[in-house]
Symmetry: C2
Subunit: 259 residues, 2 copies
């Protein structure tokens, strides 16, 4: 399994993903799922993947091949709009699945991979797209400015509650880390280290790319601080009417007693 | 869909469930999924259900029938241990499914229901059991002192982070409400109002049973306070090393700067 998310806020884009790949619990490996394609000053793309690892690698390899060829009909360098780039990745994904399934028509292996492609092309707005295994794609919306692939349910509530377009890029990054941390606690097929990429608006490059393990000081401190603050938040929630009155210093002292 | 959870802390038991039942998005109804069976001073049971509504109602009806009969081999009143009561409910569930499926062997309707049965029998510890559609059951554990049925993933991270045996009964109740609220925000097939039942240890009765709608003042205030405190918690998380130093008043001022 996998969990990756991409967030679009006014200040730019955040990409995060775990690194655990498993073909069953007895075949667990670590793979990068956050792939960066940078053309500094002109365009930047980050590709996240969840699904069949061979399909993913076939797509990545073809993207690189197309970038090296002097004459190709389409590549990440040639795409005029982000949507074109997303459609291009979708086409590569469908082709990769077709090639393998035509060779192994009696196999029941699931060849599907879902991608998130995000980034910015000079003169365009930053954007993020989810690319389905069928090759079609959708963008994020202002109301739900994030996309998730893989084991997405455990980590969605915190994104739902926190992520709005006006949230700072760094708060969005911390929210992505908390979202992945929540998922790792609930599903062991999502595992550390976590990769994080930061693409500020109009930077046209990845300004920060971090790999955070459980014991990386920053990540350990975020996990610890988040746990403590959640617990403190619970102590400050409104009381039931049968409870003793809130203790002194309660953040909600100024509110009316629970009805 | 449905989402129900039961929590066991040192001070007692909490039960909570949504009330939305749907046979497709065009057939949505409200049903109580938190069923109380009280024998004050002797024993108390709360039964939560997720799955086929007809199976659920067949089981509830049989439980009541067995309580009204003067001579029966087993009933909630006769169970010696909580485990016996859970096995009894499992048997009723299997029987209810068998009866219907023998009448409709060509139907593809899913007759399965999963239950959580919790409560306390005088002289025994309070406990909670998950009863599978197959009739077998498991108890909660000290390490994971809660059980969930239905759409459980969205609401699990907050339970994972907050619920420990030493948490107060009321904090556990607030956590259950937040867990259901998170689930309702992500899955419209889980919907209000929410039912909440509180069973303190050795009370041998449900001391509080609340039905909370979105606009019930207490629930509205918990939702609002939780949202604000989560946002505040994010502002107080450790900073990345490229960020400006924390502003004055930061709760984590006493920590070393982010490494």
């Amino acid at each position: 399994m996998t969990y990756c998310c991409a967030i679009k806020v006014n200040d730019g884009l955040i990409f995060a993903g775990d690194t655990r790949t498993s073909a069953g619990v007895d075949d667990v490996r670590t793979y990068n799922k956050v792939h960066v394609f940078e053309f500094p000053g002109d365009r930047v793309f980050v590709l996240l993947s969840a699904g069949n690892l061979a399909t993913t690698q076939a797509v990545i390899a073809q993207i690189r091949r197309d970038l090296d060829e002097p004459i190709v009909p389409m590549s990440l360098r040639l795409a005029r709009y982000m949507y074109d780039a997303a459609e291009y990745v979708g086409m590569l994904s469908v082709n990769a699945q077709k090639t393998v399934s035509s060779q192994t028509q009696y196999s029941s292996v699931d060849l599907r991979t879902t991608f998130i492609l995000g980034g910015q092309i000079q003169g365009e707005e930053p954007s993020i797209y989810m690319i389905y295994p069928e090759g079609n794609c959708i963008a994020s919306s202002p109301e739900t400015p994030f996309l998730q692939i893989g084991e997405h349910k455990y980590g969605k509530p915190i994104l739902d509650r926190v992520i709005k377009p006006e949230v700072s890029l760094e708060d969005a990054a911390r929210c992505a880390l908390v979202s992945i941390d929540s998922t790792m606690r609930s599903n062991i097929s999502v595992g550390p280290p976590i990769d994080l990429a930061v693409v500020p608006k109009d930077a046209l490059q990845v300004t920060h790319k971090l790999r955070l393990d459980i014991d990386t000081p920053l990540f350990a401190r975020i996990r610890d601080a988040w746990g403590r603050q959640l617990a403190a938040s619970f102590r400050n929630l409104p009381k039931f009417d049968w409870e003793a009155p809130p203790v002194q210093g309660n953040l909600l002292d100024d509110e009316a007693p629970a009805a």
